[in-house]
Structure formats: structure tokens, C-alpha cells
Amino acid sequence: MKERPETDQSYSAAAEVGALRQRRGRAERWWLALKKAPFSAWFGMVVISAYSIVALFAPWFAPYGEAEIFPTPFAPWDETHRFGTDQIGRDILTRLIYGARNTMGIALVTTLLSFLIGGGLGLVAAINRSWLDQLLSRTVDVLMAIPSLIFALVLLSIFKPSVISLILIIAVLDSTRVFRLTRAVAINVAVMDYVEVARLRGEKLSWVMKNEILPNIMPPLVAEFGLRFSFVFLTIAALSFLGVGIQPPTADWGSMVRDNASLIQFAQYDLKAGITPLLPAAAIALLTVAVNFVVDWFLHKTSGLRDEQ
């Protein structure tokens, strides 16, 4: 602790200055936080970075083209095809690499879109608190009452299953959850005196949202972003598995599991062949776990929870 100023007759604010520490720079604070991050968070960050690099530079990593077909379907693991080929003779490793790009890319776009819709409307509802809030909240309740996977299936069979419609449908369905979270946390912030100060100043709604409320609800939103990203990912995989997700020849982990599922029964003859359909599934699982590790750490850090001794 620094030296306290000597006892003096009256209070002086300037005298208090010495007792306070200087604020650390942003980069320094981040570095400090990273240094203290637990192993699980580091593991998560390494996995996510590796996936991102693979996804970004897929054409450089992949030995063959995404839709390139070889003469032998269901070829065993060997030097030419590290993980063999699929039911029509495409190289599994290549499709795993391209799958990272497609599945993750689509999941990222979808999550961003759902946050844009849900977050934006949630903020408006939280500040407005009138009939608009009621209308939005009840609509969301109705949407949430229908199981989302079934709802997505219905919508995808009405609209043609294309990448665009897939993104839009999942984004809208997912935005209901984002809406509820944003509204809930923003309401807590919207009643703060500093928001009142801004309103008394005559600030526009958009300014209040951007400058007063949004910065204060970022931590839970970022954490939710990580979780929703994982769920969107799983939804896409599930839809692809059911055949209405990403359409061939675009590579995608979910459909790869479905297409090669029959190989599992060969496990008793060739263990490697049996593992093949599990590879894309493992890729999904690993990424989900990694994202959640990072999110958990972030939530723990920003929520101000401290371990009791």
C-alpha cells in the first residue's frame, strides 16, 4: 500500500490522488488476464485457433479438391487417402478440412445474424418497455414454444434447403433466445441513473443504446455468443445429418457422419474403417468443448465470481 497523506484538518480531494493506483493499459490488462487463464481456457483457445487456421487456408491444407471423386468408394486408410474415401470415392481428409470451412463459416454467419436480430430487438424492448416490448416478447414466446429443430425442419421443407435459407431460418429461430437474454440484462442496465442522465440530456435512443447500455451488457452477450455458436453448429450438423442442411457436393461434418454411418458395422473387420464416420463427429465435439472452455473462463472472469477460500 502506498503512503497515505498525513492527517490534515480538512478534506482535500487532491490529497486522495496519491492513494490511488494508475490504470493499466488495455493490452496489459488482457495479457495479465491471459497469463492467469486456467489450462482448460488455453486448451480451448489453441483448438479454436487451429480450427480457424485450417478453415481459412483449407485449399492449402487439403491434399485434393473438395468434390474430387476417386475410383474406389469406401477405400481403406492408406498413404494416398489418409482417412480413406467416402461412399462415392471422395477423400475423407480433404472433406474434413473443407467441412471445417463450410460448417464453421455458416455457423459464424448465422450466430452473428441471430445476435444482430435478437440483440437489437432485445435492446429496443428493454428501453421501450411499452406495447412494443409486449409484442416482441409474446412473439418470441410463441416461437420458443415450438421445438426449434422441428420448426426448422418444417421451414426448410417449405423453403428450398439452400445455404441462404439455412442461415436465415436458424438465425431467426436462435435470435429468440438472444432476444430474451439481451432484454433481461439490458433492463437491469436501463434503470441505472446514468441512463436516466442521458435521457434527461435529450440523447437519441440509438446513442443511449450504443454508448450507455451495450458496453455494460457485453460480457454476458459475448459468453452467450460462444454458447450459441456451439448450438448453431450442432443444429446445422443435425439438419445436415437429416439431409436438409448443407447440400452436396459442399462438404459438411454433419452430412459426412450420415453418409459414412454404414461403415460403423465394419468395425469388427477393420477398426479404422469403423472409426471413419466418427472423425467428423469428433471434430464437432472437440470444437464444441473448446468453445465452451473459453466461454466458461470468460464468464467466470467477467461475472466477478471469486473462489471462496
Partner: protein
């Protein structure tokens, strides 16, 4: 008062450290404390002086993130610090009890009061449950709770704050502890309620010959309660003496400065130039009317203090003026023209000329914005200042509030309570207002810091001719800052007049009750007051 030999509690050379910023910081630096049965020791000091930490240490307890590094806490011959956690736990609630500041937060809302009152006594099997219940009812009676037979059957939200605080005292007394620690038990209460709670606590401690530590930052309160007073600062003892000696002739300079705070008083002056005037205002929330035809006049360059207990409609009146709560009847005249009742109908000029400062500076500043951003926004918004001009004005404002430019890149969390309130004042000043509404701006601050803020407000009024509508429940603050006083009770104005008129008798009945309930720095004040009221 009581003198039976051996001390019940003896704390020797206590050192406590707290962990933050990856380091251990000293909180308490070698404090000694001794307490006999039936003795009440007052612990006073500013926030951060270590009062509460020392109070908890008397139970052999350190908050999470804190640790004892040296010293002994000897309670009835046993060193609490060397006991096992489970053994200490047995003492807590049975032989040592703790009464917290916020009774509302300390009760479980899902259980009836009486169940919580007798919990520790029946858990420790001091008495059977039936006896405990009977005893609790007796305690309620001796704490002057209304309807002691049945009040225990209520839930915490069904009684008032003052009653809850007394039930909590009953809870602490239920197992007849040898030592009670009161941690700011009346700080959250209105003055009129505070008197009842203080009297009840004093009586019961006296009756059962219990030793007590009374923690507070309010000197006049501690003067009523304590036999001896210990003054703490920065985790060390400044001095300790018998209450009367301490009040009349404190030795240390720091103590003297604490004592002199309350003597600030502004000479009143009158003016007929009315800047803001509320005429026959009715207002309410939903269907509940709160204000009933109130009239308040604010002369230009003067301070009108609005006093009254919580629920009297003080803050509601402020919300009507700011336009946050449109009135249902009546008009607000500002600079001779009626103000539109709704916020959205007001012109930027009107918005600029009425500013507000809040009680809790913490929630009045966005925790993610730096001081620079907080103060410069009104400059940009109202005065279109940018670049050099804005910077110049920023520094000017900072010097007005007696802070320097090193504060510009601080976040609110990196400021002390007084500094936060200063920044809020600077933000209001940045708009260059005619009227500033101050809603209990000093009640969350320590007395020395309070004095600093009040002096600052007075100086700014002198320099810029700002008028203040000053909402408060603290009469000392009213004396210090106001020209005129408005007394409010249950949504009505009881009286408005010059300070000297309102503060000198004869008073209307409510004003009398309010004024007489304000504790004075006289150890006999409470005794005399109770005698006067015939309790």
C-alpha cells in the same frame, strides 16, 4: 456503566491483510481492544478505516480475501483464532451475535420472522422451541415492536425497515449472547425511525448486561450508544476515551476535525426572483397518487432544501421537475414560462438549464466510461465543443471541482466516493445550468467528505449563481447549505420558509418530530428526548 472485573473480549495487536491486485495489503495494523461485560464500545471512522473488518475480527472471522497475520482474539479466556472453524461456529450466534447494516438483506424472505429469530437458540438447544418462542415474544415486547404476540408470524417484507432492524436485534439477543456486534444498524433508516431503534437497542443491551461493539460513522449516534469511543483511521487506532471526554476534549487533531465537520453553516439570504416554481402539482405512479397539490418556489441563486422522511414525495417532486414523471395536475414554471410536463416535449435549452445530481454516484456514472468521456459528453451535446476548446473547458471544469487532469483517463471504479460525486457535479456544471437538483447527494458519503462536497457546492453557487433544489433527510446538511426549507410529509408540503423560521419554534407537529429526532452530539440527547416524549 458496569464494572465487573475481567474483560469478556480482549483483542491484542490485531493485524489483518486483504488480497487484491495480486498482493496482500494491510487493512488493520495492530489494534488492541478490550471490552467488559455490559460495556458498549463505539467504533468510528471514515469508510475504509477498517471498522467493519475489526468488528468481524472480534468474532474471530475474516472475510473471504482477508486473513489474520498477527494477534489474538481472546473471548472469555479462549483465543478464537486458534480454535477450529467448527468450534468457532458454535460460538457464533449463541455467545457472539452480529447485527448487520441491512436487515432486509439479512433475513430469508421465505421464512416467518419468529422462526428466524429463534433459529440459533433452538439449534444450540439453549431452550426448547416453545420456550424460545415465548422468549422471542418477550424480546419483541421489550424492543417495543407493535403487537409482539403476532408480529413474529409475519414475513420480512410485511414489516417496515425499522421494525426489521429491531427483529434482527431480537434475533441476536435470543440466545443471550455475551457479545453483540452492531455494524451500522441504523444507517439505512430514517431519523424518525432511527430514534426508536436506538432506544430499543440501548435498553436491551443494558437489561441483559451484554457487551457490545457499535460500529458507525455517525458521531451523534455513537454518542448515544457507547460508554467508550475508539476512533480508527487507515486501520490504526487514533485514540480511545470515555464518551464524554472524547466528545468534549478529543486529543488528536484528526478526531477534532471529525468533530468540527458538523459546524458548517451558510448564512441565509432571501430573494424574490423565482427561477423555478411548482404550482399545485399532483403526481403519482400509476393509480397511486404521491404528491397532493404541492407548491415549492426556488429563488435564483439560492438553495431550497426539501426535507422529509422516505416516502414523503421528495424525490417524486424532483422527477416532476426533470420531466421523468409528468404531473397529472398543476404547472412547473421555469424562468417565467411553463415547462412542458413530458420530457420529450422540452427544448434542448430547457433540458440544459435543469441538471440533476444523484445520491449514488456509482450508479450515476457509466462504469465503462472514463471521466473524460463522462464530462465531455454534455460539452459536445449542449455546446458543440470539439478539439482544443473542449479540452480547455474540460480542464477548467476539473479545476472547479478541485481535481486535476490525471483523473481524465480513470474509470469510475478507480475513484473514491467523494471524487465520484465531484465528477457528477462537474458533469452537471458542464451543461451550464440555472438549476441543479441534488437528490441526497451527500447521504452516501462520510462526514469529512460530505463537508468537502457541501463547501464545493456553496462555492460554485457563489461563483455561478446556480440555484439548488436540495433534497435531503439530514438536518445538519440542511443547516449547512440551505437558504430556505421545505418540509414534506406524505406527499404534502407542511411548510416552506427561510431556514431561520423553519428551524426555530414554534413548529407544526411533524416538523417538531422530524427536528427533534435528529441525533445531537450530546450523550444525554436520547435520554432527554425519550423523557420529553414520555416513552
Amino acid at each position: 456503566m458496569n464494572d465487573n472485573g475481567k474483560p469478556i473480549l480482549q483483542m491484542n495487536n490485531i493485524h489483518i491483510e486483504g488480497y487484491s491486485d495480486e498482493r496482500w495489503h494491510p487493512i488493520i495494523n495492530g489494534v488492541d481492544l478490550e471490552l467488559k461485560r455490559g460495556q458498549v464500545l463505539g467504533l468510528i471512522g471514515e469508510s475504509g478505516a477498517g471498522k467493519s473488518t475489526l468488528g468481524l475480527a472480534a468474532m474471530g472471522f475474516a472475510r473471504s480475501g482477508c486473513r489474520f497475520t498477527q494477534g489474538q482474539v481472546i473471548f472469555d479466556g479462549v483465543n478464537l483464532l486458534t480454535l477450529k472453524e467448527s468450534q468457532r461456529r458454535k460460538l457464533w450466534g449463541t455467545r457472539i451475535a452480529y447485527v448487520a447494516q441491512s436487515a432486509a438483506a439479512a433475513f430469508n424472505p421465505a421464512h416467518r420472522l419468529i422462526e428466524q429469530t429463534i433459529e440459533s437458540a433452538s439449534r444450540a438447544q439453549i431452550r426448547s422451541e416453545a420456550e424460545s418462542r415465548k422468549d422471542a415474544i418477550d424480546l419483541y415486547g421489550s424492543l417495543h415492536l407493535p403487537d409482539p404476540e403476532r408480529i413474529g408470524e409475519r414475513y420480512p417484507h410485511q414489516v417496515s425497515g425499522g421494525q426489521l432492524q429491531r427483529v434482527m436485534t431480537a434475533m441476536a439477543m435470543s440466545s443471550r449472547p455475551d457479545l453483540i456486534i452492531f455494524d451500522e444498524p441504523t444507517t439505512a433508516l430514517d431519523v424518525t425511525t432511527q430514534v426508536e431503534v436506538l432506544a430499543a437497542m440501548r435498553e436491551i443491551v443494558d437489561q441483559y448486561n451484554t457487551a457490545a461493539i457499535y460500529i458507525t460513522h455517525d458521531l451523534s449516534v455513537v454518542a448515544q450508544m457507547a460508554d467508550e469511543i475508539k476512533v480508527l483511521r487507515y486501520g490504526s487506532e487514533v485514540e480511545q476515551a470515555e464518551t464524554r471526554t472524547m466528545l468534549h476534549s478529543p486529543k488528536e487533531q484528526y478526531t477534532q476535525s471529525l468533530w468540527s465537520v458538523r459546524s458548517l453553516e451558510k448564512p441565509e439570504s432571501r430573494s424574490d426572483d423565482i427561477v423555478l416554481s411548482l404550482k399545485d402539482i399532483d403526481a403519482g405512479y400509476g393509480k397511486t397518487p404521491v404528491l397532493h397539490g404541492i407548491n415549492i418556489d426556488l429563488p435564483r441563486g439560492k438553495t431550497v432544501a426539501v426535507v422529509g422522511e422516505s416516502g414523503s414525495g421528495k424525490s417524486t417532486a424532483a422527477r416532476v421537475v426533470t420531466g421523468l414523471l409528468p404531473q397529472t395536475n398543476g404547472t412547473v414554471m421555469f424562468n417565467g414560462k411553463p415547462l412542458p410536463s413530458a420530457l420529450k416535449d422540452r427544448t434542448p435549452d430547457q433540458l440544459q438549464r435543469i441538471q440533476m445530481i444523484y445520491q449514488m454516484a456509482d450508479t450515476a456514472m457509466n462504469p465503462r466510461q472514463t471521466v473524460e468521456k463522462i464530462i465531455s459528453r454534455p460539452l459536445e451535446f449542449f455546446h458543440n465543443l470539439t478539439g482544443r476548446e473542449k479540452e480547455k473547458r474540460l480542464l477548467e471544469l476539473l479545476s472547479m471541482i478541485e481535481l486535476d487532469e490525471s483523473f481524465l483517463d480513470r474509470l469510475p471504479a478507480e475513484l473514491s466516493g467523494g471524487q465520484k460525486q465531484r465528477i457528477c457535479i462537474a458533469r452537471a456544471l458542464a451543461a451550464e445550468p440555472d438549476v441543479i437538483i441534488c437528490d441526497e447527494v451527500t447521504s452516501a458519503l462520510d462526514q469529512i467528505v460530505q463537508e468537502g462536497i457541501l463547501k464545493l457546492l456553496l462555492r460554485l453557487q457563489d461563483e455561478f449563481g446556480i440555484s439548488y433544489l436540495f433534497i435531503t433527510h439530514d438536518i445538519a446538511t440542511v443547516r449547512a447549505i440551505s437558504d430556505e426549507i421545505v418540509v414534506m410529509y406524505q406527499g404534502k408540503v407542511v411548510e416552506q420558509g427561510l431556514k431561520s423560521q423553519i428551524l426555530s419554534p414554534p413548529h407544526p407537529e411533524y416538523t417538531e418530530l422530524l427536528l427533534s429526532s435528529v441525533p445531537e452530539m450530546d450523550p444525554d440527547w436520547l435520554t432527554n428526548l425519550l423523557a420529553d416524549r414520555g416513552v
